[in-house]
């Protein structure tokens, strides 16, 4: 099969036109006649027992106040995922509404259903909840309550460390982050008793996981729930598990027999949405005299929050398994403990454990370079994995890659960039630094499906199991199908996002949609083409004629594609300068080289890299979910949780390496998270370089950097 002009074509998205005209339908645009609105009574305390709840007898527009006592028998707590070999304490799953106890400030205690959102908020103020406050634990190492645990490794780690010429250690901490998509979470739930069908429109990353979660929570067969994902305004992992509020609204809609809408407001989103990162690690690297890495020890602690939501266990497990990075380290011992803290639960956020691992190992490797005197680039070269497939000491199998080529390309692109450590006086006393980081990340995996059929006019309708929330599935899958079928792209129509009509699948997350769902589309298209060729006896099919001739018996095909994980990788270089007078960090330039295998649409891939990189720049410059000593969230508005604007984005130069994956017919890997994974360690290493080897944790705020420069003027302390 020859490659057409479509694979690798940077086509603009045809799905943009309706967005630009304002013809979209996000969940808050959904109107169901007779719809009521929900607001929530939330815990003001980080940890407390609930002693009583009294609800107002009447309030304007109030329909009902629903508590755990009201729906208790009808709902179960959240199902919780178990990553491979991870111990998960299912008993600590998040309840729908708080029953007897609250474990984080903002936890939903009661759903208030009223004629309008404003009236629901008015009535919520009249609900009187009595609490007895309890001490709040905020640091994972001080918790004592383990929610998840995983250990892995291979090889003789003790021997490696015993034989080492150098042992380098580091302790790292990434604060919690808030995903903050521009569209908050929300749903409309409507129950139709006549056909016993619960319909839920949900701002979600896919139909499958909300459907499965609701099915479990409501103890309702999936066939009794229709899950519709309309237009979605971003997610970045935070909509992979439904909000407890959504489960409460669905239960309330069924109980009351009225459709109910909940649109999360921004305060709720910043305080109550699952947060990302929140991980600490103590790492040790054993090296031979020539810089070969002999062994790695890592102990990680994850700040998981008060309960487990469905996706909570995943990121720390991912971080633990990726902790050896791109390096050929035969012996490793890794443990990760997910601890209970009295904060909102964590979950996947752009990168979901991958940036965490890259941050730690890349900082440690730079430290090893300083210790051994071997240049940081050379040290990396001496240890890169060069033969594939490669099984890591943590149990992952990397399918393909060319890490050295990524590194070389990044260095080439960076060649006219900044220089290391340069303190110049006079006009603006600044220090400069340069940081390099390599990353590898787990993408793809699981399975997805597609159904394709020839329509009466000779055009094609494809139902994909995957649904988009900004990635560009429509144009991308159309490119794939048109390429396979040899037809114009405008003849392909894609459908997503309705459990009544979409084929089954897993979900949109973890940089997997092109590799998995795109491959399913390709295989289904191939199957359809084979059928058509067989029916017509011709290698080149006249589709219009075939459609006419076939009548109602038009060909259709379905495919389910499954594969192991594929592994994207990359090399990033950042140059930074720090203003010694103010401590302000400026990222001067970022080089981003990513290997996501075969690229279907480079225009979209570039957008994903830049988008991910700018999110990571936010993580580096300003973002941190802050809690005070009493467990009160302090970042409940965009004035407190500061997102980067267009004016803060530095020049970003991108480059591509494409080592196709052998695991799918497209050769595709994942491009959605590389920007977020590579940028953090590159900028972090650049800051450390500028500070002369002294490390601070992100976000690299002005006051932190100023103190690092002035508490230790020689800049070589630790």
């Amino acid at each position: 099969m020859t490659r057409s002009e479509l694979i690798g074509a940077p086509l603009p998205r045809r799905e943009d036109a309706r967005v630009l005209r304002g013809e979209t339908r996000y969940v808050d645009d959904v109107v169901v006649p007779g719809m009521a609105h929900a607001a929530f009574v939330r815990s003001p305390h980080a940890h407390a027992g609930i002693t009583s709840i009294s609800v107002p007898q009447d309030a304007e527009g109030l329909i009902a106040v629903v508590t755990a006592a009201d729906i208790g028998a009808a709902v179960r707590a959240f199902p919780v995922m178990e990553p491979d070999d991870m111990e998960v304490n299912h008993a600590e799953a998040h309840p729908v509404l708080a029953a007897g106890e609250v474990r984080y400030a903002g936890q939903p205690v009661a759903a208030v259903i009223a004629r309008t959102r404003a009236l629901a908020e008015d009535a919520a103020e009249l609900v009187d909840v009595q609490y007895d406050e309890r001490p709040a634990v905020l640091a994972p190492r001080e918790s004592g309550v383990v929610l998840t645990r995983w250990s892995g490794g291979a090889g003789d780690v003790d021997a490696a460390f015993a034989a080492a010429a150098h042992v380098v250690s580091g302790s790292y901490a990434l604060p919690r982050l808030i995903a903050a998509p521009m569209e908050t979470r929300g749903c409309v739930a409507a129950y139709e008793p006549v056909d016993d069908c619960l319909t839920v429109w949900c701002s979600a990353q896919d139909i499958h996981r909300p459907l499965a979660q609701l099915s479990h929570i409501l103890d309702r067969p999936p066939a009794g729930i229709r899950l519709i994902v309309p237009d979605v305004g971003g997610a970045f992992g935070s909509k992979g598990v439904i909000a407890p509020e959504i489960a409460a609204v669905a239960a309330s809609a069924m109980r009351l027999g009225i459709p109910v809408k909940w649109t999360e407001d921004r305060l709720e989103n910043l305080v109550g949405g699952t947060q990302g990162r929140g991980i600490e690690g103590d790492l040790q690297l054993a090296l031979a005299a020539d810089g070969r890495m002999l062994g790695l020890r890592a102990r990680l602690w994850a700040d998981l929050g008060g309960y487990l939501l469905t996706t909570t266990p995943i990121p720390p497990h991912t971080a633990a398994t990726l902790i050896t990075g791109v390096y050929d380290i035969a012996a490793a011992a890794v443990t990760v403990v997910g601890a209970l803290t009295h904060k909102v639960p964590t979950g996947p956020y752009r990168g979901a454990g991958r940036p965490d691992a890259a941050y730690m190992v890349e900082a440690l490797v730079d430290e090893a370079a300083r210790r051994t005197g071997i240049h940081r680039v050379e040290l990396r070269r001496r240890n890169l994995i060069r033969s594939f497939p490669h099984r890591t000491a943590t149990g992952l199998e990397y399918d393909s890659g060319d890490y050295e080529r990524c590194l070389d390309l990044a260095l080439e692109l960076a060649a006219d960039g900044g220089r290391a450590r340069d303190r110049d006086g006079g006009d603006g006393d600044v220090v400069r630094g340069r940081g390099i980081a390599l990353y590898v990340e787990r993408a793809g995996g699981g399975w997805e499906s597609a159904e394709i059929e020839l329509g009466p006019g000779g055009t094609f309708a494809i139902a994909s199991s995957s649904s988009p929330h900004g990635q560009g599935h429509d144009i991308t899958f159309a490119q794939i199908a048109a390429d396979r079928l040899g037809v114009p792209i405008q003849d392909i129509e894609l459908h997503f996002g309705d459990s009544a009509t979409s084929p089954p699948g897993v979900g949109t997350f973890g940089s997997r949609s092109v590799a998995m769902a795109g491959s399913a589309v390709a295989i289904a298209a191939d199957d359809l083409l084979a059928q058509a060729r067989a029916r017509t006896g011709a290698a080149i099919v006249d589709w219009q004629r075939l459609a006419e001739v076939a009548g109602p018996d038009r060909p259709r095909a379905a495919a389910r594609f499954q594969s192991a994980n594929v592994f994207s990788s990359g090399a990033y270089v950042a140059t930074v300068r720090i203003d010694c007078g103010t401590g302000e960090l400026t990222v001067e330039r970022l080089i981003a080289v990513d290997d996501a295998g075969t690229l279907i649409n480079p225009l979209l891939v570039h957008g994903q890299v830049i988008g991910g990189a700018v999110q990571a720049l936010g993580e580096c410059l300003t973002e941190e979910a802050v809690y005070d000593d009493g467990g009160q969230p302090r970042t409940g508005s965009f004035l407190d949780y500061s997102l980067l604007t267009a004016a803060e984005v530095p020049p970003i130069v991108t480059g591509e390496v494409q080592t196709p994956s052998p695991f799918n017919p497209l050769g595709a890997k994942g491009a959605g998270e590389g920007g977020a994974v590579g940028t953090l360690p590159a900028v972090a290493n650049a800051v450390t370089d500028a500070l002369g080897g002294r490390r601070v944790e992100p976000p690299f705020t002005s006051d932190k950097l100023w103190r690092a420069l002035h508490d230790d003027p020689r800049g070589d302390g630790r």
Binding site: E125, T582, T645, A647, S702, R707
Partner: protein, 267 residues
């Protein structure tokens, strides 16, 4: 986030507005809404009555015909930003207002509103403090004028009594030789300032330095101003300006900003 319920009255005249505000202890005046409406939405404020001042065209003048600049409290920040008269005679205001939020905020936000809200991180109160502005207040029962030092009392706190409105800001003319600078340090573009400085300098004649972030109110650095008039250079004056700040970082930040602002006007 929806506001708690309130009654609404659109003012038909200044005296009418003052009457409404005097009569209801739980009334708030609505000008640009860029500070008040977020507070309503977050339910951080839940007044019984909102008195909308926007219909009062008489409060929206911007006039320098008498030599001093008279800014009606309801003058939009965007109007200030685009005024040739202000650019010619009071460039510090142009420099400061460019840092106030973003264009969409300045379309509605008013100069008087920013002053009356008295956010410690706001730019216009600091610039007006450097300019020795006088603030004219009216209530149903009378009128009075205050200096910046008298008006700004604490974070989000002014000397405005219940029922009292800021109606006009009077800014004296600066010496023709004066040069100005406004510098701030914020996390992102358009974000509230962490620290900032407004500087006016006509060498040997007039010096004003007002600091943002040294305290909960704008602070004039009198000792530094005097030192400048006595011939001190930017570095020395800047150190004097920030000398009283206890926190090391904040002191360094304001010293740096002051020095850079003075470098600009003395270049």
């Amino acid at each position: 986030m929806k506001p708690a319920p309130f009654r609404y009255e659109a003012a038909r005249s200044l005296s009418g507005a003052l009457e409404l505000l005097a009569g209801d202890q739980d009334a708030r005046a609505l000008a640009g809404g860029q500070s008040l409406v977020p507070m309503l939405n977050f339910r951080l404020a839940w007044p019984e009555l909102i008195v909308d001042l926007n219909p009062l065209a008489e409060l929206a003048h911007l006039d320098a015909s008498g030599g001093d600049l008279r800014i009606g409290a309801l003058t939009r920040q965007a109007t200030l930003q685009r005024s040739d008269v202000v650019a010619a005679g009071w460039p510090l205001l142009i420099q400061a207002v460019a840092h106030v939020g973003h264009a969409a905020i300045r379309t509605r936000g008013t100069v008087g509103g920013s002053v009356a809200h008295a956010d410690p991180a706001a730019e216009l109160p600091v610039a007006l403090t450097a300019l020795d502005a006088r603030f004219h207040l009216r209530s149903r029962d009378g009128a009075r004028s205050l200096s910046a030092g008298e008006l700004f009392q604490g974070a989000l706190t002014t000397a405005l009594e219940p029922g009292e409105l800021l109606v006009e800001i009077e800014v004296p003319a600066s010496p023709p030789a004066a040069r100005t600078a406004f510098l701030e340090h914020a996390r992102t573009h358009g974000d509230f300032a962490v620290a900032g400085v407004a500087v006016i300098l006509a060498p040997g004649e007039h010096a004003a330095i007002a600091l943002l972030g040294a305290d909960a109110v704008p602070v004039r650095a009198a000792a530094a101003e005097q030192a400048l008039l006595n011939g001190a250079g930017p570095g020395e004056a800047a150190r004097l300006a920030a000398a009283g700040i206890a926190d090391d970082y904040r002191r360094a930040l304001l010293t740096t900003l002051s020095e850079r602002a003075l470098d600009q006007v003395m270049a």
